[in-house]
Subunit: 453 residues, 2 copies
């Protein structure tokens, strides 16, 4: 490692995880992080809870300030500094400070942690004040300021992905009359059927008007401010504020311009050490692909936890660490969201995803009780399992009022280890009346899946 050290582009989850792990691996290595916004080290996933009023301000989502990294870890963090161009052949990145000129910065190794951008569909009226696409902390700050100043009374959320679900609940918590419009028939991308129905019921019980199979087609307003969302069902939904959450795309423009390979998903291709196709250049987090351990394919799976993991791996390798554990094992696609009093979770592949990936897959579903039947306060957990014809577990979806968020992790561990449903059925799980029935819902669902298989 030369004297120019490690340069990291992006100062949120993956970028700072890389910086910290590089520092641990190489105590004297110069490490510099460039972040194009004014914020670093924050949990963007907390924004809906700030909107809801559960967390008093967006500043509470910030874990550390630049000084922390500089003073405690000798990591130089430059905010409001945008990386403009990457020249791998010269080991140089061109950056520009706010209001400044572009300048060249040399590196020995570089980590791309440029993340993902929220997609706003090119609909008429999307430039109206009051239409928000939440991604970065600054987006959240703008929305919060708007809510304070404009005092909206009606809200429309476009898209029932996990951010959409959280935002619908958040708007209701703020007292807004809220409508959620989802163009597909699923929530969280792949949760359909009875799982979707339970989430929809919970939203409606919470006061959200929900429609599926209805697409937003335009935003209309007055005096430059949004007032209505038009849909392909011919409706005009009142909307003093709109949150659009229809997807994200990897931020790869600089990587593409530098000739770095991107995959079919549009995200940067890396190996298990998070190396890109350019020598000395690593990538981590929402800008790159990951191995999906169930399908065996490299997919784009932009989520916070994998981002931090990849950051550790990229940082360790970029700092020259050669420990065998500095490899990223990939994901199994685990995800959970709170929707009012409900926990909705998934891991692995849905039936459609499994079939699309070439598996001879089928699914079983059922409900079972979260606690011993005689113990008060329990409720039904809906579970759907996907397995292949030979009984290998491929995926699980769970929805319930308690005990779902961590139970799904047992299926995630089973997917990681490649267990068959009959092996899941044999797991020795914790039992006590307040927490589970004698035979846990995890086991009941596996039992059903095996009997069918």
């Amino acid at each position: 490692m030369g004297k120019e050290g490690l340069v990291i582009v992006g100062g949120v989850a993956a970028g700072l995880a890389a910086a910290m792990e590089a520092r641990r691996a190489a105590p004297d290595l110069p490490v510099t992080v460039f972040e194009r916004t004014g914020d670093i080290s924050y949990g963007a996933c907390g924004l809906p809870y700030v909107v809801a009023g559960l967390i008093p301000s967006a500043d509470k989502l910030v874990l550390h300030k630049p000084e922390y990294f500089r003073e405690r870890h000798q990591i130089e963090v430059r905010t409001d500094c945008e990386a403009l161009e990457l020249l791998p052949s010269k080991s140089v990145v061109r950056v520009r400070d706010a209001g400044g000129e572009g300048r060249e910065v040399g590196y020995d190794s570089l980590v791309l942690a440029t993340g993902a951008a929220a997609v706003c569909p090119p609909l008429p009226g999307r430039e109206l004040e009051g239409v928000f696409v939440l991604r970065h902390l600054r987006d959240g700050r703008r929305l919060l300021r708007f809510l304070e100043e404009a005092r909206p009374r009606t809200a429309v959320v476009v898209g029932a992905g996990y951010i959409g679900l959280e935002m619908a609940e958040a708007f209701v918590a703020r007292g807004l009359r809220t409508t959620l419009v989802e163009s597909s028939d699923a929530v969280m991308g792949a949760l359909g059927g009875r799982a979707r129905d339970r989430v929809a019921e919970e939203l409606r019980a919470g006061g959200v008007e929900v429609t599926f199979g209805e697409r937003a087609t335009a935003f209309e307003g007055a005096a430059g401010r949004v007032a209505r969302v038009l849909t392909d069902a011919g409706r005009a939904l009142e909307a003093d504020v709109v949150s659009v959450g229809v997807g994200v795309r990897p931020e790869v423009a600089m990587a593409v311009a530098a000739g770095i390979e991107v995959g079919e998903s549009g995200a940067v291709v890396t190996d298990e050490r998070q190396r890109t196709s350019a020598p000395g250049v690593y990538a981590a987090g929402d800008c790159c692909e990951v191995l999906h351990r169930v399908s065996g394919r490299r997919v784009w799976h932009p989520l916070g936890q994998p981002a931090v993991r990849q950051g550790w791996v990229a940082g360790a390798n970029a700092a020259g660490a050669s420990s065998p554990e500095a490899r990223y094992a990939g994901v199994v696609g685990t995800n959970v969201v709170k929707v009012f009093g409900l926990e909705a979770a998934r891991t692995g592949l849905s039936l459609e995803e499994a079939r699309e990936a070439g598996f001879d897959a089928s699914e079983t579903e059922g409900e079972s009780h979260s606690r011993a039947g005689y113990y008060p306060g329990g409720s039904e957990i809906y579970t759907r399992l996907v397995a292949d014809a030979r009984g290998r577990l491929l995926g699980a979806q769970m929805v319930g009022r308690e005990g779902v968020a961590h139970r799904v992790d047992v299926y995630a561990a089973a997917l990681h280890a490649g267990l068959r449903v009959e092996e899941v059925e044999r797991l020795d799980l914790a039992y006590a009346p307040p927490f589970a029935p004698t035979i846990d819902p995890i086991i009941r669902a596996a039992h059903k899946a095996r009997k069918k298989g």
Copy 2:
């Protein structure tokens, strides 16, 4: 299978699971269950919650009455009918109905599901009224009647196993001044150190007086009713009622007399099809040994969930089913208990157990937050991991106010699959701010264990 059919001795968890699975496997097979008490099909684990007043009566713990099995499943259930003697060479069991004579019943196959008996140490005064050893539903009914009639104001619980912990909480819930005396320095058999301290703090905060390393030596009373528990520390603890929970022993007298092999643990030896050493005789549940998948040893592990599983396997095999899945996979030793607002759980081996089993084992411990740091309502989860010198996970212990009971199951799945701590560290677990931090406590603990290893 001949016409005498299947006879099952014992009508609670394992026995009835065996009966039901046999019925599924062989729709026309005669199935008879003999239960020596008047109760069948109940959840004894619920008794502390009846005592606490959380469940209105012990009858609520009964799932089905004998008529249900007779009318719906053509399973003959005889309560108050004790099995006296087993003669495997003649395929006959001698039984006696309440108040009746002994009679011989022939069988084609037989399942021993005789369970376990609670141990009451041979202390002076143990025959006093008000000294209870809880095991069967009738024990609970007697205790409840005593509580109603004698209106005790002080209680002593002897033994900090999971029943002792639950009973201490239950007595406090009923308004009794309660003392818990444990002779070892651990709770739940093997939870020591900081895990034990957190449980003890919770008990004390809940109003229980707790001492460790202090042994009950005698019960004293007046007019035949208990009034005090004496200890080896020279104390006399006021006790209008006493719950003794210092252990259980397998009910194997009939099996031993029949020449059936019992293991070093004192429980019946079976193979993975739950066959005993006597032809045609199977055993399931708390009367028999199980394979501990981590140590590879056959151990005695009397708990409800393994009992039901073994019952299924015994029933299927005793009914002549030859499906490859009718094998019991063994346990990894998972257990959880609620202690006031705390969840305390373990799976696998403790450090002492691991060393005793021949592993070159060490442990790491730490605390991490149950939710995203900025999300309100979270708390610290204490985790201790035991691993061998090559990084194989051997056991886990967790204590916390939320998210422990199911998180421990992820370690249980990892133990079942034989994962190394570095593989646990790489699991892709569910993340959302209300349920977990970006990097789950499960991962943090594994990370710490690997770094040490």
